[in-house]
Symmetry: none
DNA sequence: GATGAATGAGACTTCATTCAT
DNA sequence: TATGAATGAAGTCTCATTCAT
C-alpha cells in the first residue's frame, strides 16, 4: 500500500467524518436541548449549556437554529411521536378484545414513547405551553387529539361488544390517560409526584394500573358492585 | 373638635389603613407570585410583573422578600396544604368503609385543595423541582409523603377488611393519586393534558374516576375477572 | 430656622435634583448619541459608549429608548429643524430683494442650524439613510422638501421681479443648496471635503459663496457674459 | 493524440481559467466591497455579503485580504482616482481660457470619476474617515489636495489673466468643489441631498452649475453688481 | 415604608476570523 | 486554492436588585 493510498484514505475518512458530524449536529443539539429544557425549563436553560452538552460552542448552535425559541419548537416537533396515528390505523385490524387492545396500547406506548427521552416532551409542554401558544396548538393536534381518539375508540368498541359497562367516555378515557401521563411525569420530575423508582418498574406499575382499570371498566356481575362513596 | 383633631383622625385612619395594608402586602404578593409562577414558570416571571399584579412597586417586593428565590420558597411554603396530615388524623376515627373513605378523601381534596389556587403548586413543583432541590425536599416531606401515606392506609384497611382484593400497594396507590394529579395539571396547563373543561366538571370527572377505581379495586366474583392484556 | 426646616430643604432640593435629572436624561442621551452617531456612524457606535458619554450606565439608556434603533430615530426627530417651515412663512412678508432674502436665509440657516450640533444630522442621514428607509422618508418630508421649496420660491420671485436671469430652477436651486450642505459636511467629516477650518470661518465662506452665487444668478449686462466652457 | 494529452489539455485549460479567475478575484471582491461599503457603511457590511456578491465563499475573502479593515483600505486605494495629478500636469499645457479649463475639468471629472462606481469613495470617506485616520490621511494627500490644488491653479490663472474678478481663493475654490461633491453624494445617498434623478441628468446639472459659477466669478461691469445680503 | 430611577451581571445573538478538508 | 463549519469575542438588551428620595 503506497503512501498516496494512506493519504487518500485519510482524506476520505476525515472528510466523511466531518460530513457525518455536520449531519449529526442538529440531532445532537436537539438531544441536548430536550434534556435540558425538560430538566430545567425553557427560560432557565442557557443556550450555551445546550451547546456545551452537544459538544460545540455557543455560536454553532445558532448556525443550525435561528434562535433559542426556534430550537424549542424544533425540539418539540422532533420528539412528538406520531405513533398515535399509526396505532389508530393498527386498531382497525386488531384482532382481540378491547381489553387486550387497551393493554397492548399502554404497554406499547411505554416501550415506544414513555421509556424514551421523547417522553420528556410531556413535561415540557405542561410547563411551557402557556408561553408558546402556537406550539401548544400543534401539540394538541398532533398528540393530544390522536391519543384521546384512540383510547376513545377502543373503549367504545369495548362497550359496543358488551365487554365494558356503559361509560361516559368524556370522562372514562382519563382512567387510561391519567396513569400514563403520571408515569412520564414521575420520570421527569425529581420525585415531585410518585416514587422516583416508578419508571424503573414501569412494567409492574403498568400491569397494576391495567389490572385495576380493566376490573373497573368491565361488566360486573351484580354481586360485585362496590359500595359507592359519597363525599 | 379642633383642626388638629381632624388631622389626627385623618392620620389615624390612614395609618390604620396602611397598617392593615402592610399586613396584607406579603399576602397580595404571594398570591400574585403564585399565579404568575404557575402560569409562566419561575424564570420566565419577572419580579416587576409580580409587584404590578399585587399593586405595588418593584422596590416594595424586595422589602418583603430578600430575593426572587426567597419569594418562590415563600409561595411554596404558604400554599402547601397541610391537609394530608389533618386527614391522616381524621382517618383514625373515620367510620365507614374504605371505599367511602377513599371517595370522601378525593372529593374533599378537590374542594379544599384542588379547586383552589393552591393547586397550582403541584404544577409549579413539577416544573421547578429540579431547580430547587431544597424546596423540593420540603415539598416531599410536607405533601407527597403524607398524601401517599393516607392513601396507602385507606387501601390497606380495605384489604384488611376484605373490601379490596389483595393489592401491591406500592403501585396500587397511584390508581388513586394519578387521577387527582392529572386533574390539577389539566387546570393549569392550557389543555396540554386533557380537556380544558375538566376542572369545570370536576365533580363528574371525580365521580367517574372513583367509580372505576372502586370497581377495579374491589373484591370481584371469579366470573367478573376481565381478560388480561397480552403485553 | 429649625432643624426640621433644614431637613425639609434638603429633601426638597435632592428631590428636585433627581426630578431634574430624570427629565434631563433623554436629552443628555440624545446629545451623546447625536455626537457619536455623527462621528462614527450608527453601527460603529456602541450603546454603552452613548450611555457613558451621557454619564449613565448601559441599562439606563434602555430605560429611555426601547432599542438602539429607536434611539437613532429619536436623535433624528429631535434634531430635525422645522425651521424651513418657519422661514417659508417668513418669506411671505419679507420685504426686500430676492438677493437679500437668499443671503438672509443662508446666513440665518448657518446661525440657527449649521453652526449647531443639529447640523450633524445631515451627515448622519447621508451615511445611514440607506439603512433606515423609514426615517429617511421622514427626513425628506420634514427637511429636504421644505428646504428646497423655500429656495425655489425665493429664486422664482427673483426671476419674476427681473432680479435674476431666467433659470431652470430644477437645477439652479443646487447653486444655493450645495454650498450649505458642503459646509456642514466639512464640519463633520475630518477634513474629508474641504479645509477643516472652514466651519470656523463660516461667515467668510458664506459671504464668498453668496457673492459668487448672486453675481452668477443676477441679470447681467450683455457685455459681462462669460465665456462658456465646453468639455 | 493520446489520452494523456487530453488530460493534459483539460488540466491546462482548467488551470488557465483558474489562473485568470485568481487574478480577477481580488477585483471582484473589491467591486463588491465598494458597492456594499458605500451603500451600508463599513461596520454594517458583513464580510460574508461581500464574498457572496463576489461569488466566492467567506473563506476566500480572507485568502486575499488579511482582514475586513485591510479590505476597506484596499477598496479606497484601488478606487482613489489619481486623475487630479494627471490633470494638474495637463493644466500646464492647456490652451484656452480659465473658464474653459474649469468647465473642461468639471465635465471630465464627472465622466471619468463621478459617473463611475469609484465616486462612491467620496461618500465612503465622508462616513468613515473618522474611524480610519490613517486611510483618511492617504485620501487627503491623494485626492483632496491635488484636487484643490488644480482648482486653485485654474482660478489663480483666471484672476491673473483678468478673466475672473479678484477672489479669496481659500473660499472661492469651494464654489467649484461643492457642486461636484454634492453631485456624487446625491448619487449615493438615497435622496438625502437633492433629487435622486440628479445623477441621471448630470450633464444638465453640471451645465447649470458651470454657467452660474462662471457668471459669478467673471469680471463684471460695475452695473452688474448684485444686491448684497444683510447678514 | 414605599417608590422607581439606576445599575451591571448575564443572557441571547452576530459575525470576523480560522482551519480542517 | 477554495470551502464552509466552527469558534468566541463583542455587542444588544433584560431584569433582579439597590438606594436615594
Amino acid at each position: 500500500m503506497s503512501i498516496s493510498k494512506f493519504i487518500h484514505d485519510k482524506t476520505a475518512t476525515l472528510s466523511a467524518k466531518r460530513e457525518r458530524r455536520k449531519e449529526a449536529r442538529p440531532g445532537e443539539l436537539l438531544d441536548a436541548a430536550l434534556d435540558l429544557f425538560v430538566e430545567k425549563g425553557f427560560t432557565a436553560t442557557r443556550a450555551e449549556e445546550v451547546a456545551a452538552r452537544a459538544g460545540v460552542s455557543k455560536g454553532t448552535l445558532f448556525l443550525y437554529f435561528q434562535s433559542k425559541e426556534e430550537l424549542f419548537k424544533a425540539v418539540v416537533r422532533e420528539n412528538i411521536s406520531g405513533r398515535f396515528k399509526e396505532w389508530n390505523e393498527e386498531f382497525e385490524t386488531f384482532e382481540g378484545t378491547a381489553a387486550e387492545m387497551l393493554s397492548y396500547c399502554m404497554n406499547t406506548w411505554w416501550e415506544r414513547v414513555g421509556a424514551t427521552r421523547a417522553s420528556g416532551i410531556t413535561k415540557l409542554m405542561m410547563s411551557e405551553a402557556g408561553n408558546f401558544p402556537e406550539i401548544n396548538a400543534f401539540y394538541q393536534q398532533e398528540v393530544i387529539q390522536p391519543g384521546q381518539t384512540l383510547i376513545r375508540r377502543i373503549m367504545q368498541r369495548g362497550i359496543d361488544r358488551g365487554e365494558f359497562r356503559p361509560l361516559d367516555l368524556d370522562y372514562a378515557i382519563y382512567s387510561v390517560i391519567a396513569p400514563m401521563v403520571f408515569l412520564v411525569l414521575s420520570k421527569h420530575s425529581a420525585g415531585t409526584c410518585g416514587d422516583p423508582t416508578l419508571p424503573g418498574n414501569a412494567a409492574k406499575y403498568l400491569a397494576a394500573q391495567v389490572e385495576t382499570i380493566l376490573y373497573g371498566l368491565s361488566v360486573q356481575p351484580a354481586a360485585g358492585k362496590p359500595a359507592k362513596g359519597k363525599a
